[in-house]
Symmetry: C2
Subunit: 480 residues, 2 copies
């Protein structure tokens, strides 16, 4: 007994430290591991720190912001990078787009404009459970270009509507009644959040980072090009997905004549559009408008976003302390920046080139079409191993893009396909994208069901985005 009593706390403590110990062992192991001759010592050290950071992001010994700070400390204290190199990413416009994005999301949620739009759609199309599903995905589609945090969009706007509807029709989580309606709606909302995230540069926090990585390899993706490329495959996915989920996980409730009244009541409760909602609507249209035409009149997407937030602040729709309280914005800023720095350094120090040469060796000799397909599908399904879209992008995007280009695939085509997949792969698991924990946490969907539907919808998405997408991108002149 005594032995157990004295050892238990230590064992418990050590057990808690396992993720940290693994992270350190991997980092230190790689650091001292004999390196390929082609790489310099500094390059190899950056690689070791980078891998340890990715491992830490996956194992979570500490929150991600803390990991970012520690990664910066290790990088600079060891002299691997100078302090100026280590902080180099924090003046990159796309990284700031993420911060500003969270601020804009706050406006949507605070003014309830998002909720109002959602209930309108329910009123219009919500006469059946399938109709409800379309109402919810269309609402999300409409909101997605201006709410670049998928967690905020789904968790703050779409989920409250979907959960509220399920509850209203007596479909309760963690009970057999979940299958009546809730399971179906939540699955649709989840897969909808994944598809809409892929459709706009400003629909998901990882997307701007993808743009920076592509830029590092000489491929420029503007807001317009991103949206245009996603238009046809995205809309098709949005249309097909609810049908697929309906087939796979049908709700027992099919017709819902009452949904109309329920939505109408909700809207009645909300009353007339208030001053703040009108301003938010105006800013929303300003943002979308400027993102579309901005390039032609010389206003880039980040400037547009900053302008949007400025208007919200000046018109007192949001106040500064509310924005400052969105600490997740700063945390994301901090660790995206750190990861971006490490990944950029991997590129500039030749590590990415080294690995992509080796990968190209495996798929070499192949026609680029097949090579790109294999690479992108490999990229897609490796997301089973990642608990964050950003960690995955940081670890693999540049290498896969460079390999594709080395095979002879058109750069913009390869970049876009991998970029879209960087959101779409989120649909596979209950942890791979920001909206997953929120919706899975609702308790409406069993784990098995979640993964089964996720896999099948993902296969449908891959088919649509490669085949239909491929044809569409040929029409647009991205290849061929």
């Amino acid at each position: 007994m005594t032995v157990i009593n004295t050892h238990k706390p230590i064992r418990g403590f050590l057990k808690k430290q396992i993720p940290l110990i693994i992270t350190v062992l991997i980092g230190v192991g790689l650091w001292y591991c004999p390196r390929p001759e082609a790489l310099t010592e500094v390059a190899w050290h950056v690689f070791a720190i980078f891998v340890a950071t990715i491992v830490a992001i996956i194992l979570k010994p500490l929150p991600m912001g803390a990991i970012a700070i520690i990664a910066l400390a290790v990088t600079t204290v060891t002299g691997t990078l100078s302090i100026n190199e280590a902080l180099d990413s924090y003046n990159k416009a796309p990284i700031w787009l993420i911060v500003i994005a969270f601020f804009i999301s706050k406006g949507f949620i605070k003014t309830h404009l998002g909720l109002r739009i959602g209930y309108y759609f329910v009123m219009l199309f919500g006469k059946s459970s399938l109709g409800l599903a379309y109402s919810l995905t269309f609402s999300e589609l409409l909101l997605s270009p201006a709410i670049p945090s998928v967690t905020a969009r789904t968790g703050g706007i779409i989920y409250p509507i979907a959960g509220g509807l399920a509850e209203a029709f007596n479909s309760k989580p963690n009970q057999p009644s979940a299958r009546n309606l809730g399971t179906f709606l939540i699955l649709v909302c989840f897969q909808g959040s994944v598809i809409t995230s892929a459709m706009f540069l400003t629909a998901m926090a990882t997307n701007p980072t993808v743009v920076v990585f592509a830029q590092d390899l000489g491929v420029n993706i503007s807001w317009n090009v991103w949206a245009l490329g996603a238009l046809v495959p995205g809309l098709l996915s949005i249309l097909v997905m609810p049908l697929v989920v309906y087939k796979l996980s049908a709700p027992t409730i099919k017709e819902i004549p009452d949904a109309y009244h329920l939505a109408k009541d909700k809207l009645k409760q909300m009353g007339k559009m208030k001053y703040q909602e009108w301003v938010m609507l105006g800013v929303f249209m300003l943002l979308i408008g400027l993102w579309i035409v901005g390039e032609r009149i010389g206003i880039d997407s980040v400037t547009t976003a900053i302008l949007g937030v400025s208007v919200l602040l000046l018109m007192r729709v949001v106040n500064w302390s509310e924005l400052l309280g969105e600490t997740v914005a700063w945390e994301t800023f901090l660790w995206f920046g750190a990861l971006l720095t490490l990944a950029s350094q991997l590129k500039s120090k030749g590590v990415i080139d080294y690995f992509s040469e080796h990968m190209a060796g495996f798929v070499g000799g192949m026609e680029w079409v097949y090579g790109l397909l294999i690479l992108s599908i490999l990229y897609f399904f490796s997301h089973y191993f990642f608990a964050s879209s950003m960690a995955h992008v940081g670890a693999m995007f540049s290498t896969f893009l460079l390999t594709s280009i080395a095979l002879g695939a058109p750069p913009i085509l390869s970049a876009l396909l991998l970029a879209y997949f960087s959101s779409l792969y989120g649909g596979l698991t209950h942890y791979g994208i920001g909206s997953a924990p929120v919706l899975f946490g609702s308790g409406y969907v069993a784990l098995r069901e979640w993964w089964r539907v996720g896999l099948i919808v993902s296969i449908v998405n891959i088919f649509i985005w490669t085949v239909v997408g491929g044809i569409w991108w040929r029409v647009l002149g991205f290849w061929g």
Copy 2:
């Protein structure tokens, strides 16, 4: 009546908007004002936005973070700067030192190590009111190199001790009894916070920014040089100041034998040093040590600070959500960055050179010693017009430094003198430095008293730092 009822809210609304209206009028007015021929249109527009931003920081139509965002929006939407130029300062190491600084301060306050140190000093020297005053200023001096937020240091550590002591000896704010002890202690703490802020690069959030401005003009100030230059005049100021305040605003309570017991009781209540306090103490010594020797072993001051926070996080002394909750760190980061960008652009676009040429015209022909003296004293007293040290530095530092150099003053000497004054001038008013609102808000000191003591101590400081400082800097070889 009806007339009043309808007009009053509008009038009230307009009245509230006066600071905003003035800011906009000044900005727009300058924008369209005919510009000096020597300046380009873009340079003039940067100047107009810069002046409007400074006016906004002084008049506060919106919180400073909001002003920074709006300034960035105006700068980029008008095409005055590209988005990359506008965000350029956010990867500068000194700006990050500010964020990290707030994180370290959190550790001191959370672990109560600062308080414990304070009470120790009180126990040692606190047998008279003058002794108490020295206890408090020495505590602050000891803590200042590692707590770079003067607001946190004074508000979170020194003020609780000083206020608690005053209360314990029945000296209450806003009452005649305030003069028994509280008035004197609070005034000493305030002037102490001002002097200690000047003594270390890492003792005050504005200091790292000063370093960037100086760097822009080719003058490098390291942590060591800053501290070494401040050593003699700083210690002298710390020793003399309590005597001066004692003379000007004597407490009626002179001897306090009980202070010893009170501090001892407090320390008893706190119990033994806890694990977290020991770690904090270790980090504290690590920081000071590395800041002193870092340059020689190739570890710069920002890397040191990041390392310190990493240790605090890894050893679970602070947790990440606590650091993330220090929103003032992010706000400061945001607006220091914006202001730094504008000021740097003023330099690179030739506006600073233009103004300093004109200023040099006025003081031209003078020997540089007199020129530098006049300029620095002018710089000091113009702080009556500024509600923030940073606004003042942003508005005037570069121009004054460049003018001094143009007169023939040694660059490092001029930069240091202006740098030290950039904290010391904070002692003039009840709004000019972060510690002022906290301490003035205590209610122990009447406004008139505050300003009178502020003026006289400032004059003493100016004398010490120019004359004794001047001799010390000559010994160090900074001039002559």
